[in-house]
Symmetry: C2
């Protein structure tokens, strides 16, 4: 009996609708502008909260890796990166998988595709052992 209920509010519905209507991969603030045309009194915090909610419940996607704090790497040897899904920690993959070839690729809206890279997601040791104690 103690499972929390979720409510489909007008705000949540409009946010979802407006996001599905566009292909521009908007930021929270850009979407706020769109949604406000229909719900002038909505607040930016509501947009942020619902985008998080919708992404967590699998109805929309967060663009991967975006929005995290900038990180730097002094190692110029070719390698790839894993990001911990839990804490954001970055690990190095020093034996990289082959990079996909982009020559000849054509994407609408883009005049040129320059390069491609593989990014990995995983769970780091620290977060994995923390989970043994406090499991979701």
């Amino acid at each position: 009996m103690s499972q929390t209920q979720t409510r489909m509010t007008r705000q949540r519905a409009v946010i979802l609708e407006e996001l599905r209507k566009t292909t521009t991969h908007p930021t929270a603030d850009e979407l706020y502008g769109k949604v406000r045309e229909r719900l002038p009194r909505i607040s930016l915090g509501t947009v942020y909260r619902n985008l998080d909610f919708l992404a967590d419940s699998g109805e929309i996607r967060r663009l991967e890796a975006a929005g995290t704090t900038k990180r730097f790497d002094g190692n110029m040897v070719e390698h790839q990166h894993v990001r911990c899904l839990c804490c954001g920690r970055i690990g190095d993959i020093m034996t990289p998988l082959p990079t996909p070839a982009v020559s000849g690729m054509h994407v609408p809206g883009f005049s040129e595709i320059r390069s491609a890279r593989i990014e990995f997601d995983g769970i780091c040791d620290q977060c994995a052992s923390a989970r043994l104690v406090a499991n979701d």
Copy 2:
């Protein structure tokens, strides 16, 4: 005569040294903490400016895609993304290249590799035509 000279200052040298010494892919603020152990009077702005300088001159790497504003996507059909190197605009690649397999991968410091994805960099149409006029 009008080419600007660059100076290897103590601050720049220490920032580069400390970044090369670690494999943690630090943020500007984390590196600031490290560098301050040796140069207590350095300012955070100097760290940011030199990280930008070093990345632009190819001595260090900026972690790809990190640090941009969060973006969202309402399209749950499997696809990949291109990011414009110039303006950050995102495009969709609806005929994705095959995703690399991660089963059996082992990375030191990580207990589990969950998934991999391919990300693309390119130049969008708007930026490409802007370049025709104002070329770097």
